[in-house]
């Protein structure tokens, strides 16, 4: 299984490198939308700060957000969903490997290649906006673990939404709905602590905090003690739930699948 993944990963990597300009541009999508909110919040904070946040803290938060956003983001609506709609998955279903392994390899390949754009861009922005980090190496390490869990969680949810293509032609509509919720509840429009109570609770009750905001909160040193444990517990709980949801959707979907085209 790991060897198969390795082969897929290398071939995907090679094919992405062939279309590198496209993939470099796609990686900008992890950076440009949060840049809007970085700029607006740091303008609003100004010299005095706002709600206990200084300008530099907002900058640190959003720069971290950009990198994590790229590392955890789901692209399955463009890869897996497309395969199903075009009927390309037919051939892959005949192989003795789950087609999801290939989808996972594209995801990992895209993220590693994208870092070539994301890291320099974020460093450049750091030189311009001057972030102010109050964190410890331990928290950053925990944050990286949470980033991996968040990436797995977003992959499973993104893959499940992409699998809706087995039933409906407009799985992208479900994906866009997911994106709006992600925008509001995952810490992009504002760090979660600054949201009104109703939205903040929704972010934790739904998987959206675990999908993106939690690792960012850890890396920027916002969390201590029990809050860290609770955050990880929520992430793991959602991960397990998403795993079963994905398996269930996959089994039902494949049974229903009828290839299109000739």
């Amino acid at each position: 299984m790991i060897a198969t993944f390795g082969v897929y990963f290398t071939t995907q990597w090679a094919s992405f490198l062939a279309y590198r300009v496209v993939f470099f541009l796609y990686s900008m999508w992890a950076i440009l939308p949060p840049l809007i909110y970085l700029a607006v919040w740091s303008t609003v904070a100004g010299a005095e700060g706002i709600a206990g946040w200084s300008e530099g803290q907002f900058v640190a938060y959003y720069l971290t957000f950009m990198v994590v956003n790229h590392l955890v983001g789901s692209i399955e609506i463009h890869t897996a969903s497309w395969e199903i709609q075009q009927g390309e998955i037919s051939g892959r279903l005949l192989l003795p490997v789950h087609p999801g392994i290939r989808t996972l390899a594209s995801n990992a390949g895209f993220k590693t290649i994208g870092m070539i754009v994301v890291v320099p861009s974020v460093l450049l922005l750091a030189a311009i906006f001057r972030p102010e980090f109050h964190t410890t190496p331990g928290m950053v390490a925990l944050g990286l673990v949470a980033t991996i869990i968040a990436a797995a969680l977003q992959f499973m949810i993104g893959y499940t939404v992409a699998l809706f293509s087995f039933w409906i032609t407009r799985a992208d509509a479900a994906d866009q709905l997911n994106m709006v919720l992600l925008f509001l509840l995952s810490g992009q429009v504002a760090p979660l602590v600054l949201l009104p109570d109703a939205l903040r609770i929704a972010a934790s009750v739904l998987p959206y905090r675990s999908m993106l905001s939690f690792p960012v909160e850890l890396i920027t040193g916002q969390l201590h003690g029990v809050a860290v444990v609770v955050g990880f517990a929520l992430q793991v709980a959602w991960l397990v739930a998403a795993w079963f949801l994905m398996q269930f959707t996959w089994r039902r979907g494949v049974r229903r699948y009828a290839a299109v085209g000739g």
């Binding site: 300009v21 496209v22 900008m28 440009l32 939308p33 809007i36 700029a39 706002i50 407009r170 429009v189």
Partner: protein, 263 residues
């Protein structure tokens, strides 16, 4: 001019008939518009729950700006976006020939022949937001003069965003593929959700002089709030005229490179 308006109306009517065949799809798209706009409005409200103004912009003014943003986005999605990919395909496959042999201006046809009417939902919702923002109170009263200034500035803004899109699309004559370039423009356009004053100075410069998004959303709302000087309005119109002229020049230049494709 009346002839072109008549042609445009035929395109819109055709599109309506096409879309009416896919009613579920139409419903889905309207739902997505509502969800997307609700998200954007909620985003603005969150920021204003912590700040009374952003660089002098009050909540109703920023909401009006979001309305203009949504409206312009609707126009792009209705008229320009659906045509551009078709155009790039036309250059690649040589099917642009069919556009060129028609006795109508080729830039006009390329820009508008395939419209997708569900984008008009965004236009309506955008107007609704502007209306709501006006009712909840602009600091200065809004009279006929302001509405006129707003209309002029918005029309100029629409021309500017059109010229940017078509100008970038024209690059397809040289590079054949354009979806990457247009996705970058979309990313810049998204910065028009907030007044340019909300950004640091260097970004304001970029958004005014390089990708003039400021003229598309910020200046129309300033005009509505009686904060745009006649000079600013004149500059806006001038930029629109110059950019439209440049886009037609670029179109001609690109067209002279088009050699069709043989099968």
């Amino acid at each position: 001019m009346p002839r072109y308006l008549a042609i445009l109306w035929v395109f819109v009517k055709n599109s309506m008939q096409n879309e009416a065949a896919y009613r579920a799809n139409l419903l889905t798209n309207m739902l997505l518009t509502v969800v997307g706009v609700t998200g954007s409005v909620a985003g603005v409200l969150v920021i204003y729950s912590h700040a009374r103004t952003i660089q002098g912009w009050t909540l109703p003014e920023t909401l009006a700006l979001l309305g203009v943003f949504t409206l312009m986005n609707g126009l792009i999605n209705t008229f320009i976006a659906p045509n551009l990919n078709e155009f790039a395909e036309g250059v690649r496959k040589g099917t642009l020939d069919y556009t060129l042999i028609k006795p109508v201006n080729s830039q006009f046809l390329t820009s508008f022949q395939r419209c997708s009417i569900w984008g008009l939902a965004d236009v309506l919702v955008g107007l609704g937001i502007v209306g709501y923002a006006l009712l909840t109170g602009f600091e200065q009263g809004v009279g006929p003069v302001q509405v006129l200034a707003f209309s002029i500035a918005s029309a100029a803004g629409a021309v500017i965003i059109y010229s940017l899109w078509i100008g970038l699309a024209t690059i397809a004559f040289w590079t054949v593929k354009i979806d990457n370039i247009t996705s970058i423009l979309q990313a810049f356009y998204n910065m028009g959700r907030f007044p340019v004053q909300a950004y640091p100075l260097w970004m304001q410069r970029v958004l005014t002089y390089i990708v003039p998004v400021a003229f598309v959303t910020t200046i129309p709302v300033q005009a509505l709030g009686n904060r745009a000087t006649p000079l600013l309005l004149a500059a806006s119109v001038l930029v629109a005229v110059v950019m439209l002229y440049l886009s037609t020049r670029l179109w001609r230049l690109g067209l002279s490179r088009y050699t069709s494709a043989s099968s």
